[in-house]
Point group: C3
Chain length 467, copies 3
């Protein structure tokens, strides 16, 4: 039996890291000019006519959609396990709350450090970016779900956020790639990082009996699925340019996701026994259309292009669950609890390719001369780029992401393999009781249904289930 | 035993229809000028000063509220059945995802076809309208819930969306009726279409034992109820004119819904045994105030007018559940699983009447001269209308809707009655296992509660429930 | 056995009060100029260039977030009890729906009565304020949860809303205190009002066995927790000034809440047995950071200041659950079902103090000269205030709130103690069956899992659990 006692380990890491956040925030983080009380002065000096021009009103409703995806979406999606609901929602809550603080710092240093005073200036877009970074960590969490301790998760988060910011900086600032919804930055990165870790933490004697759902846990999971599905148009348009880009990003993602639902259910019915639909596919592969538009959603992909991407990615993702996951587990020893390879890795790679092709195919006829410059940021250092060159850089960005995620995951995997992080023994994986106080009397609850009306059933039921 | 095998039937219909959507989208659907990359050019040519004037910022947050109502609201509202949670949420997901694609086309052909290039131009308002059309299909779904196959549901959706667009065109474009929240277009149409179908599909030997809830399924259902209730102010103001009309639509609906809650609980306590409150009423009739404001919400109904409508419709709807539903089932052979007659048909008719009266009573004093023209669209072909004439057209719109919904439902009902669509036998109605892979080990889950702390209970419990 | 029959009592109170609302709304409540059809005229006369300047577009998305907190957030947070889910969600629904109507009137009379015509003019900000007032009632509900009848709850709501409006008027209009997110007005007031009532209604023989959770009820409760947590940035910025104040309020609350999560889990693991995390703490104390920023969120607290407040309040709240609640119950006879003292009272007091200190420390350097005037409303009657004087008034506001809440709670407590309101007997507390029709066949549902695949188990299971 392993020592899974979290007292002192978990509290210490939480307190010390939170203290570090306070100090680093104190040294580095300030309000940007749209959230600072000087805004009233800024408005005059910048000749801004109305408070509605504050970025808050362009992005805050969309930020809240993304926020729901991070905490309810990811959190409840993972509650499908019959005895890991507390861990799914609770650890999701914990590591996302840490990751977004650390991301505000890491992304700030790389992207929005004001060199005049050495401060990071944050606003609503910073919050969205921090949530995006947390999403990447939560994707990796899906791969190791049920097999690690909260301490391991926090350590993973620390490293993953750091590397995420590095990768994001290389992609967006150095390569000038576009990836507004994060097919590469978020999904490919988070998935391969997590898959590499779960490979290194391979457990040959894992008890797969607890790695299953019950009826109501599947319904809780659908709460997560639906919130991810409904708000993905917000996710893919959250940090796009104001105006048509955000508008288009939402429309494209809406179309793509709808197509994924039909193909997911179709493939599920074809390959599952007796032609029945498998809830695991509905919970996951219906979302593939959103992942696969992470790069191209803001581009002029056209609505039918979005349908095609949704159709293909929903199909590929479902086939992945049916054929690829068992293969990965058996031959590559990758125990991928939530199937992140099918939901995030495969559609993410599709999304990166779609983005590269769409960028390369852009023309002034489709975008207008000014629109092309704005859409792809062909100015400043990238002023002499053509769409086809941009396509090449998009492809390069995918390669960099694959490299960094697998490389980083390898290092972090071996760190997490150290024996003192309190991970559960094989037979206690997928089991809340290891780290949570779990109410132990569901039978008593069942019994009490009859207690008022039929007191006579009391002793019988009680006698049976609690002998 | 009927043949309920979905393999090939369901996958083929999903794939072929999705393929058809791609082709039709490719031929017809393009971005409108606010979501096209040419927006930067449009802004200059139309002298638009800011990106915030893009319709996206007026309607997108409200669109997302509506989107939640469609997928979580309707989906979870129907999970009250103890063994039909997968079907409720899952088929809701499937048919809504198909319906909104088909609605973008059908509504586009009727409402926003650009005759200069033969293309349908879509933007955020198109997405809202497509979701509205899907709502109508989901209302009908509530009537046949648990008694049909997914193939039947898809066929129903195909026809219902088509007829919805025809009815909508007649009401809004030909008759010039106002119906921003769809009391007639969505609720009356969807309800009587579905009720007619369920009448034609009458099952004399239906097993009503499975048509019941359990404790936690009632709580899941309340998730759906509350999201519908909270976001109904968005639903009723989603496609109203910018400014005061949207603002007023939200306020009126907010007031009306609050009143419905009090009267629903009052009536429930009066008529149910021992004065106890019935959860079915709370799950449904509390929403009647929203349905009943579907036409008049954007009008100058006044807040107290809204309270009156909410009071009456909550009362009528609850009484419908108590007295009318058993009557309809016994004498008219209408087996209305979710009680859509009480939640959508009755309050929808009330809403149509309230709308007609409110329109007829409009004056320039209340609306201002310009306000009256804007509010009721008294321009172009309708420039010479007076409020009282408008009231007459509103009433005519209700009649047309009733006619088309019952007529269309009759035809579609007989199509769905054909014997090869894979519907379940009477004893398998309201049962997920027919079409879904269902995890079969809830007892095992119960057992595992004790596995760590009380290993001694293992064999006993195991022996009992899995003999 | 007490008489808990609700027939006539509950329906009569619902109907009479709803009727009173209609009459009072009819006499007093009208649309404000942004929701009235004359808006088209107002725009011209006020030289407003665009409909987007309508307050609806500044506040409606945030209003919807608050609305979700009231109905899903508070409602589901309280479903943690194993047999009180209907009462938690359902009574929450009932009393919030009444409270917001009554609050529109009470707050209208005190704050937005138009003396030119004697009417209250309402718009989207009025709806937010009404929801805020309902929140205060729901906090008190958390203290008495499971121990009172719906009639008692409605009576409590009537008095509490009234006193809330009085207290709010004294704080905001007389003392000129700032409290945009309601640390004092909502949280301290609601908590001490409810705690005083629960003290007066003390039940020495309360059966604490039903005051417990089961596995899935804890997950339902997490739905409530997460919606409160995610949308708290909206809550604290909902009625702040347009522009930087709303923007800053959201950022500060976001940071504070993230910090609370880490410290809550840390403290829980330190003090709970075997170092395991307690779900009760995660469900509640993670929200303390939001409560504690209710006053200062819109101020220039800085992000690291927010982290400090979140860290401290999360810690204090969790310690309150562990050490203070048992003490209060044992020695002060305060039976606080949901622990509102730990979640609302303590963090609310912290928030009031943080607000007073932050206000007192404000400088023109930090806010700019104009910013300071706008942020603290140093104009009209308060034009000669300095920040340090403002700090004093903030402290006075806390004292007034404490006084009024305990005083009002005492009176209302004795009113609720009258013997004819239909409260449950001690052994029926925390039990839905007293006031709700509860489906009685969960075992039957379990059985039916096997009915299709393994018909052989039918008789055995059936025989066992329904002898």
């Amino acid at each position: 039996m392993k020592n899974t006692l979290m007292r002192w380990k978990l509290p210490l890491i939480c307190f010390i890291w939170q203290l570090a956040m306070i100090i680093l925030f104190g040294v580095f983080i300030r309000y940007d000019e749209e959230s600072d009380a000087h805004w009233i002065v800024t408005k005059i000096s910048h000749n801004i006519s109305s408070d509605i021009e504050n970025d808050f009103y362009f992005r805050y409703p969309i930020f809240q959609d993304v926020h729901v995806m991070i905490f309810v979406g990811f959190g409840f999606l993972m509650t499908f396990l019959k005895r890991y609901g507390f861990g799914s929602v609770g650890f999701n809550f914990l590591i996302a709350s840490f990751s977004l603080q650390w991301a505000l710092l890491m992304q700030g240093w790389f992207h929005s450090l004001d060199f005049s005073d050495g401060k990071i200036k944050i606003g609503v877009e910073s919050l969205i970016n921090a949530d995006f970074c947390a999403a990447s960590v939560l994707i990796s969490f899906g791969g190791v779900l049920g097999k690690v301790s909260p301490v391991q998760l926090l350590i993973m988060s620390l490293f993953e956020v750091t590397l995420y910011a590095v990768n994001e900086f290389i992609l967006l600032n150095v390569l000038g790639a576009k990836d507004a919804g994060g097919s590469m930055v978020i999904h490919v990165f988070g998935a391969y990082f997590g898959l590499t870790i779960t490979r290194i933490l391979y457990r040959p004697n894992l008890d797969q009996k607890k790695n299953e759902s019950v009826y109501h846990s599947d319904l809780f999971s659908m709460v997560g699925t639906l919130y991810l599905w409904m708000f993905w148009p917000s996710f893919n348009s959250a940090i796009s340019n104001h105006g048509d880009a955000q508008h288009r990003g939402a429309i494209n993602t809406y179309c793509s996701l709808a197509a994924s639902v039909l193909t997911t259910i179709a493939i599920s019915s074809v390959f599952e026994k007796k032609g029945k639909i498998n809830m695991v596919h509905v919970q996951n592969a219906t979302l593939a259309g959103g992942v696969a538009l992470g790069t191209a959603a803001e581009m002029m992909l056209t609505p039918y292009g979005s349908l095609i991407v949704g159709t293909i990615s929903g199909t590929v993702s479902t086939l992945g669950f049916i054929f690829l996951s068992p293969f990965l587990e058996k031959y590559l020893k990758i125990q991928d609890t939530c199937g992140i390879h099918n939901l995030h890795a495969l559609p993410g790679v599709i999304g990166a390719i779609v983005g590269a092709v769409t960028a390369a195919a852009a023309t002034e006829g489709v975008y207008s001369k000014e629109g092309l410059v704005v859409a792809f940021g062909f100015k400043d250092g990238f002023a002499d780029r053509t769409p086809s060159v941009q396509g090449g850089y998009q492809a390069a960005a995918l390669c960099v992401t694959l490299l960094l995620s697998v490389g980083g995951g390898t290092i972090v995997g071996f760190i997490l393999k150290l024996p003192f992080w309190g991970d559960p023994s094989d037979e206690n994986c997928f089991e809340d009781e290891v780290y949570w106080e779990v109410p132990g009397e569901e039978e008593a609850a069942l019994y009490s249904i009859h207690s008022v009306n039929n007191p006579s059933t009391k002793s019988a039921t009680n006698g049976e289930v609690q002998p």
